[in-house]
Amino acid sequence: MPDLFLATAGDNVMNLAPEDQRLQLRMVEALLFAAREPLSEAELGARLPDGVDIVALLKELQSAYAGRGVTLRHTDGRWAFRTADDLGFLLQHEVSEEKRLSRAALETLSIIAYHQPVTRAEIEEIRGVSISRGTLDALMEAGWVRLRGRRKSPGRPVTYGTSPDFLDHFGLESIKDLPGLAELKGAGLLDATIPAGLASPDPDDRADLTEDEEPLDFGDLEEVEPLAGA
């Protein structure tokens, strides 16, 4: 008999009575299946009985689904069921029309992803041109880029970074999984300033601001639009 969907149980979960364990696994599975957006461990925890070891359950569920048509993906501390990578060909009829991003927008996106937190001026410095109207808007509208805060430097420029949706969209477990990150960093190509020699900074998409950032002011969201179009 082929054990097609056989689970490999985690260690912690094994300590539970099978009945409890089974119910808890079912609950996590139901919650994740029902949701469209990835759920954080905290969100799952809020809907599960107290004292449940969510991480252990998630790991068990993930291994139970490994190699299946649907897999449990972990992205930036959030979990979601997604169809398996190799079955995309089967699902082309489900493809939703996507607004094509311009080459400028794609370059800007990758600069933001690899150099975050990054200011508009820094993006322009790397690309050698000013950002045209709508480029940042389009990325924010797609939900991949967000305003992070302000750089603690003269003019207090707004800093940009990627969102959790960015990771989900590109199937990245964390920002450290950006393709070619290690090589780029090793080649010193993530340096903000031209003279190399210093260690390259890592891209940082954490919700917390870095030391040289400060929070956005109230009303920044409205303010930034016209700036972006300047």
Partner: protein, 270 residues
């Protein structure tokens, strides 16, 4: 290494001579750095081993050719051209002992770095877009089951709100009650006192309305005042204090103080 005037070969498929399209060509690049990167790619060597000197010369030839043809070139291309001309001179002349300035090689390395970094970001963008992307190759649940939100109303009100609500509606009722009982009615007694006071020493015939009009501030009280005044005046006539006269039906009613017997003298036979 080539220093001939060459134009990037991106637009040849249009079937037109590149020079005719120079402005368009420049527009086709995203700025001078993009143009430099495109020129560098034509050297067909690793960007790390690119000849910056030849790249600078190509760029300058490109811009010069455009200027000869009096074509408009965007300012940032001209700025880049000026900088590259400076870089070229620094690369060709031996470095001076003056250490404040970066050497020509350092400037060239900086430009090479910028080109490599831009190239790297382009590569990253395409690798990113070639990933299995959500909604393109990987899919979320097509029919997510909406979570049902049960809303509970948590009512709030302060004791002050409560007391204020009670007090104000009770007060509303008091006012209503008071208005009804205090409805202005001229009693006969009031009207008589008023008439006596008003007529005073007047001996000329006067319409009764003019005595009262100043006191009848509201239309509602007018009727009751008139009725009471008429009754009171009739009583005063009966008692011999005043006289009334009306020339015809519905015409104004005149009133005067009845003259004193002693002042009327001989013709007092009324």
């Amino acid at each position: 290494m080539t220093i001939e005037p060459r134009f990037p070969q991106m637009h040849d498929d249009q079937g037109r001579a590149p020079e005719d399209l120079l402005v368009v060509d420049v527009d086709g690049f995203e700025g001078p750095l993009d143009l430099l990167l495109s020129l560098a790619r034509e050297q067909k060597v690793d960007l790390a081993r690119i000849s910056i000197l030849s790249l600078a010369e190509q760029f300058l030839v490109f811009v010069e050719a455009a200027r000869v043809k009096r074509l408009e070139i965007a300012a940032d291309y001209l700025v880049m051209a000026a900088w590259l001309a400076y870089l070229k001179s620094r690369l060709l002349l031996p470095d001076e002992a003056d250490d404040d300035q970066p050497t020509g090689d350092e400037l060239a390395a900086a430009l090479a770095f910028r080109l490599r970094r831009l190239e790297a970001m382009r590569g990253a963008a395409s690798r990113l877009m070639n990933r299995n992307r959500l909604g393109q190759q990987v899919f979320a649940r097509g029919a997510p089951e909406a979570t049902i939100t049960n809303r509970h109303n948590q009512f709030t009100a302060s004791l002050y709100d409560l007391l204020e609500a009670y007090a104000s509606q009770r007060q509303r009722n008091f006012v209503q009650f008071v208005t009804i009982t205090k409805r202005k009615v001229f009693s006969l007694q009031e009207a008589r006192a008023l008439l006596v006071k008003l007529i005073g020493e007047t001996v000329d015939w006067t319409p009764i309305d003019s005595y009262l009009i100043d006191y009848l501030s509201t239309p509602e009280t007018r009727a009751t005042a008139m009725a009471s005044s008429l009754s009171a005046s009739l009583e005063l006539v009966r008692e011999g204090h005043i006289e009334l006269r009306q020339t015809s039906v519905f015409s104004p009613l005149y009133v005067r103080r009845k003259p004193e017997k002693q002042s009327t003298g001989p013709d007092s036979h009324a």
